[in-house]
């Protein structure tokens, strides 16, 4: 029975996934296990899937295995979908790689606005999104805090560099949240996790065009009576591919060669342009 349901679920989300991707559909590249072939466990899932249970209570997959930043990249929406054993609630958390961020604050000096204050924070995730199948506050209020953090709770864990008064720190923390939200990196409302037929769920994860690279982590939790009964984590690599990747890699690893290449390109283009212009 469970096997059958899973096959049905995979079939359903396959259709839903193709729908959500809109016109720029790429071949899914074998990300979706063929119904009935892969068995009950997704063979491509990382080892964080609880192995001891032969029939997992929570199975997830992503509509794409990675976010590819190509020359035509304008941001992307990735669908996370899966199935769980009812009853329960599903929470999905996406975390980008952590790094140090420096927040700068403007102040009016002689009528001009310029940056006067700055504060660095460590452990700042590049991206953070959280969604649940029920209002998040209600779920988190029941004592799963610590493991699952709302955006605000996560922000309170970023470590300030150096010392500063707490009210000032709070302001800079607020500023960090504000800028990240504006850039679409901490999407405030990615919408609820939608549940169908009591056990199938799906949620869209929006990624803006200005997206830091790295390996993101997409985690799904199954909650029952305020306790985590199952958790699945999938890595989601975000990176430039093709021409963009080559250029950026070149600029990163060999700035001198890249600089010379840029000059050569400009010399050639300018010479050619000039030659064409004289003919006109």
């Amino acid at each position: 029975m469970r096997r059958l349901l899973l096959a049905l679920a995979a079939g359903l989300v396959c259709v839903a996934g193709a729908h959500a991707q809109g016109p720029r559909v790429e071949p899914p590249g074998g990300m979706l296990p063929a119904p009935g072939l892969g068995g009950p466990t997704d063979s491509s899932a990382p080892p964080s899937v609880p192995i001891e249970s032969a029939t997992p209570e929570l199975v997830v997959d992503l509509s794409r295995a990675r976010v590819s930043i190509t020359s035509a990249f304008q941001g992307e929406s990735i669908l996370m979908f899966g199935m769980f054993d009812p009853p329960g609630e599903v929470v999905v958390v996406v975390v980008g790689p952590e790094a140090r961020e420096t927040v700068m604050r403007k102040q009016r000096v002689f009528g001009l606005w310029l940056n006067t204050g700055r504060q660095s924070f460590d452990d700042v995730p590049a991206y953070y999104a959280i969604a649940a199948s029920q209002p998040l506050q209600r779920l988190l209020a029941r004592g799963v805090g610590g493991e699952i953090l709302s955006l605000e709770d996560r922000m309170s864990t970023v470590k300030p560099v150096g010392s500063r008064g707490s009210s000032e720190l709070a302001r800079f923390r607020g500023g960090l949240l504000e800028v990240k939200r504006r850039e679409g990196l901490y999407p405030a409302a990615i919408g609820q996790v939608t549940v169908q037929a009591g056990r199938l769920f799906r949620v869209d994860l929006p990624f803006p065009s200005r997206l830091p690279e790295g390996v993101y982590e997409v985690k799904a939790y199954l909650l029952r009576d305020g306790k985590i009964v199952a958790a699945v984590s999938r890595p989601l690599p975000v990176g430039k591919v093709g021409f963009s990747a080559q250029l950026a890699g070149w600029a990163d690893h060999d700035g001198a060669l890249y600089g010379l290449g840029a000059i050569a390109m400009a010399l050639f283009a300018g010479w050619l342009g000039g030659a064409i212009m004289r003919r006109l």
Binding site: T70, S244, L247, A256, A266
Partner: protein
């Protein structure tokens, strides 16, 4: 049509960038200056980070000056000796400028400094041009046959040591002045992503007393190497040169420049300069309002760093 700029790390409309390049090319064709001084602020207006805008614009200046230099070189309008002396200062100036740029970026003040320098520079040049073109216009109407002013005046230039003979420019002046001038233009070039022709050309005419015929070619000679130096140093120290962005600007410029030179042939010089000064002043005013207006958000982020 959107294109992802790999160094700016954001997507941008191709036609906006081509249009910007064309506008700069139009100016280049009309006035014989690079147009970078308008392209860079406009790039910043459309949302390119200032550091990337400046560095990529320097790359564009390389292309711009090489196509202009071709013409002047063939006509023999380059004073190579003067160009070398200017370049000596220019190389030091641009290197110092990139260093200063990197420092200002690290303390989070580069955007502000770029904006302030542009406001000062554009408003000064715009006002001078406006006054000059208006007064010329008025004078011509009143007194069409007025004699021109003195061609050659002797200033401080002639009293400084290290005098050098510049045959092509018919000058015997101290090398210190062109070296110093090159140095200043180099700094400007590195921080603002401009060739600096619009400052260099008047300075060569009025300050050094060079004959107008060789001024544009010689300034292009110096600008070519200074811009190449800035591109190289920005790529190695800050990694902010976006070749895709630069290439789009160059392509736009190739289209814009011939249109500009045709326009220039049709309109009288006074009108052209008047129009240009109004355009420059408009950009200066816009930049100044950005500095004065209460920003929509007080906060911004610096570059992401790997945690120590």
């Amino acid at each position: 049509m959107e294109i992802y700029l790999p160094i700016a790390e954001q997507s941008m409309n191709v036609f906006v960038l081509l249009g910007l390049g064309a506008a700069a090319g139009l100016l280049a064709g009309m006035f014989g200056v690079g147009g970078g001084f308008l392209a860079t602020p406009l790039l910043i207006f459309v949302g390119i980070p200032p550091a990337v805008a400046v560095a990529s614009q320097a790359n564009q200046v390389v292309a711009n000056s090489v196509s202009s230099l071709q013409v002047h070189w063939r006509r023999g309008n380059v004073d190579l000796r003067m160009g070398m002396v200017l370049l000596l200062g220019g190389m030091f100036g641009s290197s110092a400028g990139v260093w200063l740029f990197t420092y200002l970026k690290s303390i989070g003040q580069i955007d502000f400094v770029i904006a302030v320098l542009y406001v000062i520079m554009l408003s000064t040049i715009g006002l001078l041009m406006l006054v000059e073109s208006l007064s010329t216009y008025v004078k011509r109407r009143r007194n069409p046959g007025a004699p021109r002013g003195k061609l050659h005046t002797h200033y401080l230039v002639h009293r400084l040591p290290l005098k050098l003979r510049f045959y092509k420019s018919k000058l015997y002046i101290s090398a210190l002045l062109p070296v110093g001038l090159g140095f200043l233009i180099g700094i400007l070039s590195a921080i603002l992503g401009v060739g600096g022709g619009f400052v260099l050309v008047p300075a060569m005419i009025y300050l050094l007393g060079m004959p107008t015929a060789v001024v544009i070619g010689t300034s292009n000679f110096q600008i070519l190497f200074v811009a190449a130096n800035v591109t190289f140093l920005q790529a190695t120290t800050n990694g902010t040169v976006d070749v895709v962005l630069a290439l789009l600007l160059i392509l736009g410029g190739v289209v814009g420049a011939p249109i500009g030179s045709r326009l220039a042939a049709k309109l009288p010089g006074v009108v052209l300069r008047g129009l240009m000064s109004v355009l420059i002043l408009a950009v200066a005013v816009e930049l100044l309002t950005e500095l004065l207006r209460t920003p929509s958000s007080l906060f911004s982020l610096g570059t992401r760093e790997v945690q120590p």
